[in-house]
Amino acid sequence: MGVPDTGMSQRLVNWARAKSPWITVYNSGACNACDIEIIACLMPRFDVERFGILVKGSPRHADILIVTGHVTLKQASRLRRVWEQMPEPKYVIAMGACGASGGVFHGLYHMVESVDCVVPVDVYVAGCPPRPDEIINAVVTCLNLLEEDAAHGGKEWRQKKPATGVDAEGKSCTVVS
């Protein structure tokens, strides 16, 4: 990338992407609380569809991956594969206290330290679980990032180094800042 593509078609694609981001949710070992709050976002009261946000089952169709919960060792490689299947540009939201640091589960024997050990995270949402309005705020923050990245021609301007993923023992963890 490097040089921003300012062609007409690329500008159209960027505009369309920011107006209708598609989301996929991956439960990497959460307690369900974050998942039901995401579904509550789709419901008449919060209604994220008014922002053009749709939840899709397949990661191949998605722009934004929401990872709910901490990552169990068994799920780490699956999460990495789901993330690898998403087309560029892709964004990751880590939900709740567990997504950021493990929350109450920090340090248990079957846990990876945090989501950003496995995939690079763009937005963290605080709370246990976050309220639906905070989830909507996170997605909107993600959309602003998307527009900024399009202007910079890629994500590299704000990333130091990418996450490497973990091995089977959960040891080779490189945290992205």
Binding site: Y26, N27, S28, G29, A30, C31, N32, A33, C34, D35, I36, E37, I39, A40, M43, P44, R45, K56, G57, S58, P59, H70, T72, K74, Q75, R78, V82, G103, V104, F105, L108, Y109, H110, M111, C128, P129, R131
Partner: protein
């Protein structure tokens, strides 16, 4: 025709939670089901042994995000019994109110999901809209929409103010009206009757044989509810009925859950109107004496049991969590046999599976590659 293995999960558009199904099918008919429940295993039971009673409650609440109050209550109930504490009646009533509100939000959630899997999205939207009224009440009372944090050993942490009681009572009539509408819909809506009737049938004998619990068992005519048969909290004082049904299929399970929704509103109403005055907690000692207890509780999905062993310190020596979903998986495997592949989501959803509660460790023997 040769048998075909259809593998579903752990990430699949139709699944909300990570689980792996291996469905062996002969044509359109299901022959057998193989399950892998280990994706969500976190090691909570081990972690619970390392934390004292104050720190373990928030951890146990996060076993499951839908029945979080159940896990905290059943654990504190057990520890209080070991310690020999008498819980003030006001605390019992507050726990009952939160427990029944939780059952309401869980059953409304389930009704929506069940409607969603048969493609009836209108009802999905309706129930989840009505669920927000319950969530608002819970948020007013506890400060959080999902993990309430109301329990502590010896009582509850927050009192209900008269304003909160009044606000909750104001929301109830609208909810009751909606629930009446759902009772009517379940019995008359053609979409639901076609997809739910005679699907996933299980007889009373099978339900008893395979150890089904909760609404799944009650829909097959098993008249058993821990709230009545082994009363705890304020259930012995509250007038309410156990809902059973004789259909034994998904339709019966829907009727039981919708009936329980109505009973829950009545329990909440009774408890709010007859809330006793007095303290909301007693002082609990730091250490629990040596002892063992099996604490039982009727969670929204069925009977939840915590086996607790204490050893005279401020930590448990062992806590074993037997969740209702684990007991019900066997019945799913039985119900699925000889059903159509297209009915898998309905039958699986009918037990209201909660994988985060249920996740078990799988030990793989690397030499002969056998899991157990």
């Amino acid at each position: 025709m040769p048998e075909v293995v259809v593998s579903i999960g752990p990430q699949h558009p139709a699944l909300k939670e990570p689980v792996n199904f291996k469905i062996v099918a002969d044509g359109e008919k299901i022959v057998r089901l193989e399950l892998d429940l280990s994706y969500n295993h976190r090691g909570i039971e081990k972690a619970a042994e390392q934390r004292n009673f104050i720190r373990v409650l928030p951890l146990l609440e996060r076993v499951c995000g839908i029945c979080s109050h159940s896990h905290a209550t059943v654990f504190s109930k057990g520890i209080e019994e070991i310690m020999g504490l008498e819980i003030p009646p006001r605390a019992q009533y507050i726990r009952t109110i939160i427990a029944e509100l939780e059952r309401m939000h869980s059953h409304l959630l389930w009704l929506g999901v069940a409607a969603h899997v048969i493609g009836f999205n209108t009802l999905f939207m309706w129930t989840w809209r009505d669920r927000e009224a319950v969530q608002d009440t819970l948020e007013e009372m506890s400060g959080n929409r999902v993990h309430y944090g109301m329990n502590e050993i010896g009582g509850v942490r927050r009192d209900l103010t008269p304003a909160q009681v009044e606000a909750a009572l104001e929301r109830l009539p609208a909810l009751e009206e909606r629930i009446k509408k759902y009772v009517e819909m379940v019995n008359s809506e053609e979409t639901m009757l076609i997809r739910f009737r005679d699907v996933g049938k299980m007889s009373r004998e099978e339900a008893l044989k395979y150890g089904a619990v909760g609404p799944t068992a009650r829909a097959s005519g098993v008249d058993y509810d821990v709230r009545r048969d082994d009363p705890y909290l304020a259930y012995a004082e509250v007038p309410w009925n156990v809902i059973t049904d004789t259909h034994g299929d998904v339709y019966g399970r829907t009727r039981v859950r919708v009936g329980e929704l109505w009973e829950s509103t009545q329990i909440v109403r009774y408890c709010l109107e007859n809330l006793p005055a007095g303290p909301i907690r007693v002082d609990a000692p730091k250490n629990a004496p040596k002892g063992e207890i099996l604490s039982r509780y009727e969670a929204p999905r069925g009977e939840l049991a915590h086996f607790i062993r204490t050893n005279g310190t401020d930590k448990v020596e062992r806590v074993d969590i037997r969740t209702p979903t684990l007991a019900n998986w066997t019945s799913v495997a039985v119900c699925l046999v000889n059903q159509n592949i297209a009915d898998i989501p309905v039958i699986v959803a009918a037990i209201d599976p909660c994988l985060s509660c249920t996740s078990r460790m799988t030990v793989v023997n690397r030499v002969d590659k056998e899991g157990r």
